[in-house]
Symmetry: C2
């Protein structure tokens, strides 16, 4: 019947080109505890990652959003898993596999505090500051990109840089083994961290492509469309 | 006239016993930057401090709330000054003086990162974690309690403890030179940090007095009433 045909049409490749695909998106900061009351955080608001999760869902993907602590509402039609530390984020991401698409937007802490203190660290009578030892966190983007059995078909990473943005991001893409890196300049001057706009460059095997400065939702829609195009070409090539 | 007399009555000692007095309240966490994207924070939500600022204002005090980063609305009739780091909090508090009452609820970081890095700290090729040096932060409660010229008449501190709560808090009161300490147990089990209830003990020169577990707003009203009583006795004694 006509109604069914129309529904199929718009829920199919044209209206919802990502339907049938599963995307895992990480977003937000991680909080790495120092002791029961203190932690190390970063300035990621989660806005860009949440917008991407919402944009992928709008194009029909089933989306699992693995989120660090944020104050944002869950985007429409997105399954959200809340985590705090990088180790928990990796576990949640691995649990969400298999996935066709992974977009790692979370600003994951590079280190956690080694041997987190079960009690609040007190000021010493001597007044000497504490010494905090760090240990490296798991690298979620590299783990996904180099996964021996369940590598998503398309792995996209983000690189928040304050200097030598293109150079750092290009090397990051090679080092991690991901397909695309979205590089953005988060130096103090740009006001991007926590703000509503983003100025990004997409770096792939084909080169670098700077996008016009835009609202984080517009950047998300542009990326989701590019991801849909990539799967479309892949289907045609195979 | 009768209306003026009624107004005076309810805006005076009975209805608004703190009118004519200025209170400075600190609340929330501080964020101490490590580099442009990372910082050290603590789990204070700011709820208890905001409730106290609101309760003091409701009893007629002029209230300056010096707040670290929170996601809370400013209480009614309260002047709010937003700060991020401990050093900025101290500056804002000193700028707000003179005050009759100081209630230091903020969970001020004991240390800041010495020589904050102007660029994002990168992972080294060696994979070695960075070493972070700390320097002591100003002690806002002690500074106010021992202020040579502008010590508020009543200085109240908070002590968030995870063990030996009474013992630690009693010694904190003596060390800082404040009048009262409100001690609360923030160990993982109590669910107080970030929660809506508080279980507190008021420690003064007269001893320790445990209050019933209550909503943070009820604790705030009880403290504001105790502060009003203290000024009432002081007036009668003089």
């Amino acid at each position: 019947d006509i109604i069914a045909a129309v529904k199929t049409h718009f829920s199919g490749p044209l209206g919802r080109p990502l339907s049938g695909l599963h995307a895992v998106v990480t977003a937000g900061p991680t909080h790495e505890p120092i002791d029961p009351v203190r932690y190390i955080a970063n300035r990621s608001s989660g806005k860009q990652g949440y917008a991407i999760a919402g944009a992928l869902a709008a194009l029909g993907a089933r989306v699992t959003l693995v989120s660090g602590p944020t104050h944002l509402p869950t985007p429409k039609d997105v399954d959200r898993v809340d985590v705090e530390q990088a180790v928990d984020m990796l576990s949640a991401v691995e649990k969400a596999l298999p996935a066709d698409i992974a977009v790692c937007v979370a600003a994951v802490a590079d280190w956690h505090v080694a041997g987190e203190n079960g009690q609040k660290i007190k000021k010493e009578a001597s007044g000497a500051p504490p010494s905090i030892r760090f240990a490296e966190n798991p690298d979620i983007l590299a783990t996904l990109s180099q996964h021996p059995t369940r590598r998503p078909a398309l792995v996209v990473g983000f690189a928040a840089e304050t200097e030598h943005v293109l150079d750092h991001a290009t090397r990051k893409r090679q080092r991690k083994g991901c397909d695309w890196i979205i590089a953005n300049d988060v130096s103090h001057q740009t006001g991007i961290m926590g703000g509503d706009e983003n100025l990004v460059t997409l770096i792939s095997a084909d080169g670098a492509e700077q996008w016009a400065k835009a609202d984080k939702h517009a950047v998300a829609r542009q990326l989701a469309t590019r991801i849909a195009d990539w799967f479309d070409h892949r289907r045609k090539d195979s």
